[in-house]
Amino acid sequence: MAYVAVKGGERAIDNAHRWMVEERRGNPQVPDLTPTQIGEQLGRAVDRVMAEGSLFDPGLAALAIKQAQGDLIEAAFLVRAYRTTLPRFASSLPLETAEMSIKRRISAVFKDMPGGQILGPTYDYTHRLLDFALEAGFTPPAPAELPTEVEAMPRIHDILGHEGLIEEDVPSNAEPFDITRSPLQFPAGRDARLQSLARGDEGFLLAIGYSTQRGWGGSHPFVGEIRVGDANVEIVPPELGFAIDIGDLALTECQMVNQFAGSKSQPPQFTRGYGLVFGHAERKAMAMALVDRALRAGELGEEATAPAQNQEFVIYHCDNIEATGFVEHLKLPHYVDFQSELETVRRMRADAEAAQ
């Protein structure tokens, strides 16, 4: 297929962008929005752009949201493009999520979980009624505070694991696959799948996760635990030779617990799906955990029949930047492709008429 360069749109494009910039600014009588305001007051949008942009930097994500007029996929695209301009200094030591400082931590399977059920700043249990006080502008009351009790917060598999009733983690220090450095191959390892899902589109993962609940590869999930908070990031720079703590990372982790009938090699036990996402992103972490578990079908000897269990289907389609690129490229000139197809249809019609 031949491509033909088409020239002549430069002035139109320049003027289109000038208009876009004016539209983005909106009514100049209304104060300009700052990235700091976006960062402070639209935190969940910032979290989503960081997760799907695969770059933890709240300031950059806020700027991207402003630049994209709140189009979060476009903002994630801007963040992904920016990350390619920076060198990678190091990989971190694996995060110790068991030692996160906790803002929120709940379990739907154990009421009296050691460490307790901590609701944190949540929209759960709100009535989903529009709050017109926000329109008027109001100063929120200070949150309540209570003395803290020093109590360990074990993970779900640390509680049930010793009875063998729930799958335990198999520790390893294997070097993980990196989808940003090597092309994906199928079947993909769980490391490559988790990396893909962590930056996957929340809406896509939500729908695929939901499909498993509705019977398309059902695995009967329970929320073992959700925890939201900050974890230390540590790296070992070669010039120092010891681990240094470079700052905090806001995270949401979800441990989904699923029934498992057992196999020839394994007695019946609960299995687990895992979700880990930048920022406060419970819906995404839960969806990721559902999909992670569904994608383990092969490893657990389950028949893969549903879309959620199909690695290539899920992994190749969960990235909204790639999906946007391929869907939106259809807007670009296809004059020659279409001309050739037009010729083909005309010829087929002529042939069909001649045959009658």
């Binding site: 997760a51 770059l55 933890f56 950059l60 990350r83 920076l86 990678r88 200094f89 190091a90 990989s91 971190s92 694996p94 995060l95 110790e96 999520t97 068991a98 030692e99 400082s101 906790i102 803002k103 929120r104 059920q117 901590i118 700043p121 949150p143 309540a144 505070e145 803290t148 009790e149 993970r155 598999h157 799958e167 983690d169 198999v170 520790p171 390893s172 220090n173 294997a174 696959f177 769980r190 490391d191 988790l194 990396q195 962590a198 900050d230 230390n232 990031v233 790296i235 120092l240 010891f242 240094i244 703590d245 700052g247 905090d248 990372l249 982790e253 441990q255 895992y274 880990l276 930048f278």
Partner: protein, 153 residues
């Protein structure tokens, strides 16, 4: 900041963690209470880059690449011969450069105690206080279950 046990950390690891969480403005404000830092030469940076953050499958299993975070690093040699390093989350070049200078000076026996008292101790206290406030807010949202008495006899 997590609740990792600080006892297992060296003094340098502890002060580097504190510096990584302080803004350039915080550092400048506390440096005003300490003797002027020695002159220095920048050996590297300050430069912005990335760290690939890793998690573990299931929380404790095999590592996987979660995503990247922005990091700024800087290395300096001060006029007293100490080499200071900084790797700090974010893109604040001024913070990284000050953190590297303070890291260098803290390694000097002559300067250590004053800098520790004027810069590191108050910043560490402020960071711990912020964490304690968050923990108290979390504690206030802890569910206190109670069992309703049934009416059946």
């Amino acid at each position: 900041m997590s609740q990792a046990n600080p006892i297992s950390k060296s003094p340098r690891q502890i002060w580097m963690a504190v510096l990584a969480r302080a803004t350039a403005a915080d550092l400048r404000a506390h440096l005003a209470d300490a003797p002027v830092l020695p002159g220095y030469r920048v050996l590297r940076g300050p430069e912005a880059g990335l760290v690939m953050v890793r998690g573990r499958a299931g929380g404790g299993g095999a590592p996987f690449n979660l995503g990247e975070m922005s990091v700024t690093r800087c290395t300096v040699r001060d006029d007293e011969g100490q080499i200071g390093h900084a790797y700090v989350a974010g893109r604040d070049a001024a913070q990284a450069e000050l953190a590297a200078r303070i890291d260098a000076a803290l390694q000097s026996d002559l300067r250590h105690d004053q800098l520790q008292a004027a810069v590191i101790a108050p910043l560490a206290a402020a960071q711990q206080s912020a964490q304690a406030t968050q923990a108290r807010k979390a504690a206030a949202t802890r569910v206190q279950f109670f069992t309703l008495a049934t009416m059946r006899s």
